[in-house]
Symmetry: C2
C-alpha cells in the first residue's frame, strides 16, 4: 500500500526526458565552447567543510547554506561539519589553494555542477541550480588580455546556443571608482556602496537610484552627474569609443580603467567577435566588491526581461582565505538552470532532437531475432536505436515513435523478411522506402 | 592572512584536471553506450524529502543518509526535512510514481549523478560517488527480453571503455529459490537469508558459507548440495547450456528460472555479444531481496580483485512505497567513481588525450593579433585551442605544452609572419613543418 506521496522537495526543477534532453544539449554546447578555448575540467565534491563555506560574514547567502550531516552523526549529537556549496567560486578558491603546487598556471578551468541555496521557493528561484563557470587564475599577475578572452568565449557559446541576438555589456570597476573620485567621492567604502546602487539602474530606474545614493550620503548633484555619465545605456561600436574618449582623465584609477576597457574592446574585435554583440555599459557594476576591474553582463536583445544570462569579472585575489599566494583571476558564470527555465517559459527550448534516432519495430514474434540483429547493426554504425520487445500492430508502434519523437522507424515484417528487405520510414517527411536488408544502415544514416 | 586550511572533507575523490579528463571521458563513453540503446536521460534533485529516503528500515544505509538543512532553518530550530540521495533507485521510484501520467512506457531511462553516503572513510570507500544507472520500467508486466538487453548494453559499454577482457555473470534468483525448495528449504524468509550467504561465496569461500548457512538453520548436507551446484564458478558457452540442462525440474520456480536464464542466454547471443563475455554463475545472488529474477555481475578477467564493476537485476515492483501501480523493471548500475579509482590504482587510466589540442604560442608582442586570429580560425574549425597571452621564449612555451599534454604547437614568430607562414609542431612525433598561414587549420586538423 502506498504510504508516501511522491514529490520533489519544493523549489527544484525536475524535468521530463524531453526537457532533460534539451537542457543536456545546452550543457554539452556550453562545455564544447569552454573546451574550444582550452579550458580544462574540474569537479569538486558537493560538500565542503563548514569552515570553508561559512565565514561568519552574516550575509544572506550564509543563512541559505545547506548544512549536511549523516543521520548516524546527528543521532550521536555532533554538530554538522560539512555543508553544500552555494557557488563554484568558493570551491575553486579552496581547490586552487589546496592543489597549488600541482597545478599548471595560468590555471584555466571550467566547472559545471549544481549548487544549493535555501531560498524561499518562488517562480524562477531555485534551491538547486547548475552553474557553468570558467576562470583563469594566475600567480601574482594576470594580463588584461584574459579579460578580453571572456567576451570571445561568451560570444562563441551564445552563438552556438542559437537563442537569439545578445549583447555582452562591458564595464570596469576601476573606471567607475575613478569617476566617483573625480566627482569628489574619495571614501572607498562609500564608492563600493554607490556602485551597488548604480548597478540597480536598469532594474529600478534613475530616480530610485538617485534617491538611494542620496540616502547613502552622496550629494544630489554628484548623483546626477554620475547618472548622466553612467546612465547612457549600452553603447556599441563608434559610440563606445567616443564615450571612452570623452571621459575625463581626472585620476590614476580613471585612466587605468579607461585603458583597460579600451584594450578589452580592441582585443575582443581581433578575436572575431561581431561588434554588434559587444557594448560599453557604464551602469554595470556587479554588486560584489569582490570584483575590481573588468565586469561583464550578457543580455538577450529580444528578451531584456530575462536579465543577465552570463556575468562575471576580474578579481584581485581568489583565495586569500586559504593561502598567502596572491592569485588574481577573471571569470564568468552561466546560470544554466535558470536560463533553461526562462527559455522554456518563452517557448524557446522545444527543438532539440531525441537522441534516440531509430526504432526497430516488431510485428510478429518470428521477426524478433531479425529485429535484434538490425538494431545491433544500426548501433554499430553509430545510430542510437531502440527495439520493440513486444510484437504488435504497426500503427501502435508508429504512434509510440511519433510521441517519443523518434524520427526513423525500421520495419521488417514477414513479407519483408521473405523478400530480404526492410522498410525504412521517415516520420518527419512521412516518406517510406523499401531497401535491401543489407542497405538498412546506409539508408538510415543518410536520413539523419 | 590565510585563516582556513584548504582541504576537502574526508572520504571524497577530488581530481586534478588530467585525471578529471580521464574520468569525464569514461562518463561520456558510458553515456554514449546508454544512448545507443535508446535510453533517455533524467536527472533528479540531490535532495529528496526525508520521508522518501528514510523508511525506518533501520538499515546500515539509513544511518548513512546525509540530512540537509539550511543554516537559517536550523537556527530557527526546525527538524531537517530533506536529505541527500544515497542511490539512484529510490529517486527513480519517486520520479516514476510522481510523473507516471506523463511518461511513455516502457520507460527507458539513464541517470548519471553523484550519490552520498556517510561511510567511515577508508581506501576505496567514498562518501560521494557517481552512479551510472539504466532501468527499463513498465506497467504491470515487463518481457524477459529486456533482461537480455542489459548484458548487450554492458558488453557494448565495457568494450568501448577498453579496460580489458570482462565477464558478465548471469544468474536468476527464481532458479536459486527453486533449487532451495528442491533441497527442502520451503520458508521464503530463510531462502532470502540463504541467498545472502551464498552471494559471499567468491569472497569468503565455500567453508565459511557452509558455516554461515548452518548458523541460519540450514542442514549441513543441504548446504553441501547447494554449494556443489552453485559453486562451480562462471560457466561459458556449452558448459553453461549443459549446466542449465542438468538442473532438476523439481518445482515451478526452478522451471521458470531455468527458462528465463535460457532465454536471456540465447537472446544475448543474437545481439552479437561475444559468448566469451557471458557466463552462468549460480553463486551470484546479489544481497538484496529487492531482486526477484535475473541478476547480473560483471568482473574484469585480469583483475578479479576489483570485484563487480556493473551489477543489477530484475525486480517486481519499483515504487510500491509511492503508488498502487505495479511497476516491474530491470536495471544495471556502474559505480563510476570507484571504478575510476581502482583503474587508476592499477595504472589503467593514463591514456586519455587532453581536450586542448593546440597551443598558439606568442614569441614577440607584435605577434599577438596574429596569434588571436590563428586561434579563432582553429576554434572555428573545431580544434580546441589555447593562446599564450604573454610573449616569451619558445622553449618555455613548448615545455608548458608538453607538461599540459597539448599535442600541437603553432608558432608565428616575426620571421614566419614576414614570410606569411606558420610553424606547426607535433609534440608527439617531434616533427615540425612550416606551412602557409592559410594552411594552418588544414595542417593541424590532419595531425589530430
Amino acid at each position: 500500500m502506498p504510504i508516501v506521496t511522491p514529490r520533489t522537495i519544493p523549489g527544484v526543477l525536475e524535468l521530463l526526458p524531453r526537457d532533460q534532453i534539451a537542457l543536456q544539449s545546452m550543457f554539452d554546447t556550453i562545455r564544447e565552447g569552454f573546451e574550444s578555448f582550452g579550458f580544462l575540467p574540474i569537479s569538486t565534491p558537493a560538500m565542503e567543510q563548514t569552515a570553508v563555506l561559512l565565514t561568519k560574514s552574516g550575509s544572506e547567502t550564509e543563512r541559505q547554506v545547506y548544512l549536511a550531516q549523516s543521520t548516524g552523526a546527528r543521532a550521536q549529537g555532533y554538530e554538522p561539519d560539512a555543508a553544500l556549496r552555494f557557488d563554484l567560486t568558493v570551491p575553486l578558491a579552496r581547490y586552487v589553494a589546496e592543489h597549488e603546487a600541482e597545478l599548471i598556471f595560468p590555471f584555466r578551468r571550467y566547472q559545471m555542477q549544481p549548487v544549493w541555496r535555501g531560498e524561499t521557493p518562488q517562480r524562477g528561484r531555485f534551491r538547486e541550480f547548475i552553474q557553468c563557470d570558467i576562470d583563469v587564475v594566475d600567480r601574482d599577475e594576470l594580463s588584461i588580455r584574459y579579460d578580453a578572452e571572456m567576451p570571445a568565449v561568451i560570444a562563441s557559446i551564445f552563438s552556438r546556443l542559437a537563442i537569439g541576438d545578445f549583447t555582452i555589456r562591458l564595464n570596469n570597476r576601476r573606471l567607475l571608482r575613478g569617476l566617483l573620485i573625480d566627482l569628489g567621492v574619495d571614501d572607498s567604502g562609500l564608492q563600493g556602496l554607490a556602485l551597488r546602487e548604480l548597478d540597480k539602474l536598469e532594474r529600478i530606474g534613475a530616480e530610485d537610484v538617485a534617491a538611494a545614493l542620496s540616502k547613502r550620503g552622496i550629494a544630489a548633484d554628484t548623483a546626477d552627474r554620475l547618472l548622466k555619465v553612467a546612465g547612457q545605456g549600452p553603447l556599441k561600436g563608434a559610440a563606445a569609443t567616443e564615450m571612452l574618449a570623452a571621459l575625463p582623465d581626472g585620476n590614476e584609477l580613471l585612466v587605468k580603467g579607461k585603458e583597460e576597457l579600451a584594450s578589452v574592446f580592441s582585443l575582443v574585435g581581433v578575436q572575431g567577435v561581431n561588434p554588434d554583440q559587444v557594448a560599453l555599459d557604464l551602469s554595470i557594476a556587479r554588486g560584489l566588491d569582490y570584483y575590481t576591474g573588468t565586469v561583464y553582463e550578457t543580455t538577450l536583445d529580444d528578451h531584456p526581461e530575462v536579465g543577465s544570462i552570463c556575468s562575471g569579472g576580474r578579481y584581485e585575489d581568489l583565495a586569500s582565505l586559504y593561502t598567502k599566494s596572491r592569485l588574481p583571476g577573471v571569470g564568468i558564470s552561466i546560470g544554466l538552470t535558470r536560463l533553461f527555465w526562462q527559455l522554456r517559459e518563452l517557448g524557446m527550448t522545444g527543438t532539440t532532437a531525441n537522441p534516440v534516432a531509430a526504432l526497430v519495430t516488431l510485428i510478429d514474434e518470428e521477426g524478433f531475432e531479425t529485429a535484434l540483429r538490425l538494431a545491433t547493426e544500426l548501433r554499430t554504425a553509430g545510430v542510437n536505436t531502440e527495439v520493440s520487445m513486444k510484437a504488435g500492430k504497426l500503427s501502435r508502434q508508429l504512434k509510440y515513435a511519433d510521441r517519443a519523437q523518434i524520427p526513423i522507424v525500421v520495419i521488417a515484417g514477414a513479407d519483408e523478411r521473405q523478400r530480404g528487405t526492410v522498410q525504412v520510414r521517415n516520420l518527419v517527411t512521412r516518406v517510406q522506402q523499401e531497401v535491401a536488408a543489407s542497405e538498412v544502415t546506409a539508408t538510415v544514416s543518410s536520413l539523419l
